[in-house]
């Protein structure tokens, strides 16, 4: 663990965006107390004001403070996506471990079901589930969780299949251990790393899909603020009040990119076998030297030319 922290701290991109993600979660948890004004309070006389010191992101057509609404939406989104993630992990990992360890017909059935689920685009699957469960926060949580359930089942199953071949598992059986013990003591420690990585990479997908569902009117219902649903409302007034899209877009962008880059960094730090993601390398060069990746390549070529 200490080793991991030391290694991870060297990864500047990971640390910076990890901190941003933590900050977003702090905002989400403390939303009720830090909002500058009541996000539900309508003041028609104050409607559609452009950004000012008083209202950083302006006000919407009902005169509600957009900053407050974005902050509260952070809480809503964080709650939905985190619950969906827990749903997928807590259900998917045990299922994957058990079918992977025991194999047989149960494994076949579960795998075919996950194959079928993977055929459908996530958003379509989510729409179907929301239509069944009804448009609500709970519906979105179940829809998102179910859409990524196959991924977690597959990861847990794959690792289990390879680890159960290990001689130390047989040694545990020779000592009299049953399967729950083996799954807990020998297989789970090997699964935690890929699951953590997959979870951080799934989070931005959930954020985007939660917003997409709300944008389509299938997710969180007004007046509860949610980024996608706020964007949907802002879209109607795009000409009259273009500043309304700033708040939710910036929040959405920050959340998604932080979770994504943190996931990439974790993957690289935790798994020595993966070569660095090319995108991230380029991004690092870009951020460190203030140079575009393309420009660097030209420079290097020029230097080689001079030496020759």
């Amino acid at each position: 663990m200490r080793n991991f922290l030391r290694q991870f701290s060297r990864d500047r991109v990971g640390v910076v965006f990890g901190l941003i993600l933590i900050a977003i979660y702090i905002v989400a948890i403390t939303a009720q107390w830090i909002v500058p004004s009541d996000p539900y309070k309508t003041q028609l006389s104050q409607g559609m004001r452009p950004p000012s010191w008083e209202h950083w992101f302006g006000t919407d057509q009902f005169g509600r403070d957009m900053l407050s609404r974005v902050i509260l939406a952070t809480q809503v989104t964080a709650k939905i996506t985190t619950s969906a993630l827990l749903f997928a992990v807590l259900l998917g990992v045990p299922i994957g471990m058990i079918v992977g360890y025991h194999g047989g017909w149960l494994d076949e059935i579960i795998m075919r079901i996950t194959d079928i689920m993977l055929i459908f685009p996530i958003i379509m699957l989510a729409i179907v589930i929301v239509v069944i469960a009804g448009p609500s926060e709970r519906g979105v949580v179940i829809a998102l969780g179910m859409s990524q359930l196959p991924q977690f089942i597959r990861i847990a199953r794959g690792v289990t299949l390879s680890v159960k071949q290990e001689l130390y598992v047989e040694a545990a059986i020779a000592a009299g251990a049953g399967w729950p013990f083996i799954l807990r003591r020998h297989i789970w420690p090997n699964i935690s790393t890929p699951v953590i990585v997959q979870a951080t990479l799934t989070l931005p997908v959930f954020v985007l899909n939660a917003s997409a569902l709300s944008y389509l009117g299938l997710g969180v219902q007004p007046p509860t603020p949610e980024w996608g649903q706020m964007l949907n409302e802002a879209k109607e007034l795009l000409i009259a009040a273009p500043y309304l899209i700033i708040g939710p877009s910036v929040a959405l962008f920050l959340f998604v990119i932080s979770a994504n880059l943190l996931g990439d960094s974790l993957q690289e730090t935790l798994n020595p076998k993966t070569k660095g993601q090319r995108m991230k390398r380029e991004f690092q060069k870009f951020s460190r030297r203030g140079l575009k990746p393309g420009k660097m390549r030209v420079e290097r070529a020029a230097r080689a030319e001079i030496q020759r």
Binding site: E170, A175, G176, R185
Partner: protein, 344 residues
Amino acid sequence: MTEDVLLEVRGLRKSFPIRKGLLRRVTAEVKAVDGVDLTIARGETVGLVGESGCGKTTAGRSILHLTPPTGGSVKLRTAIHANGGPAEMFDVTTASPKELKLLRRDMQIIFQDPYSSLDPRMTVGELIAEPLIVQGIGNRSERLDRVRELLKAVGLGPDHIGRHPHEFSGGQRQRIGIARALTFNPNLIIADEPVSALDVSVQAQVINLMQDLQSEFGLTYLFIAHDLSVVRHISRRVAVMYLGRIVEFADTATLFANPRHPYTEALMSAVPVADPDFQRARIRLQGDVPSPISPPPGCPFHPRCPYATAVCKAEVPVLRDFGNSHQASCHRTEELSLRGVGAD
């Protein structure tokens, strides 16, 4: 046999189905172990030798019920049902899961590969305590005491408890594996090529340790190996396996001096001698081991046997007793004078 019998294996068989096609129909089966009989007395060491793929490891694993055998019986003398009374012969193959868990205390295994048989994420203390935790014995400090005892017995120190397997050499790792196997003072230990992954110098240390532990704790070993010199050193009796069957079984000295099966003779001739000027007449077997999916008719060894005749191709030889508990399965053993190796 006059000594009390610890393990009695009768007609042990283990076959693996080969499935093909969409419906996963069984098209053939690999007969890895095909009717093995073996009797081991308390306190002795029986060697089990044979070339790669002859089923010796599978036989060991089937005896311990690590892979449930397809047929046959395995009876182990154990006190799990005796309630303090004398130990009785208990059939491992028909044990319930609960009984099997208790039986595991009486029969243990030492693995070939000391690198993959220890979970790299666990410390030595956790590794050696695992059998105790699994069987729900003792509290934390009692278990720690037992771990210290076991470490001392295998020549490691209590300061090794907190370390991870990767910090140890192959020989030390194998000592850890042995300590694990010793946890419950088992009657039977199946050592599955315990030294073949080690350097020659370390092999001797581990073999000596195993012999010391045997005399100290009264252990019984089934020693599976392909290195005949090691087997000759440690075993009182040796069984030779070929294609899933035991083809010869005799006292070590008898087997090495007067082999009664051509396969044993060929194996013996391959033992290297520590003298560069000495050239032993090598018997080179032609061809490969036949596939255990479709073993040849008659004697399974006949396609490679230099002495094979018509009868060998037609009839399957049975294991016959030649006195002095020397058994061999060869049609022509009386006519042949097979060469053994002297006490070199």
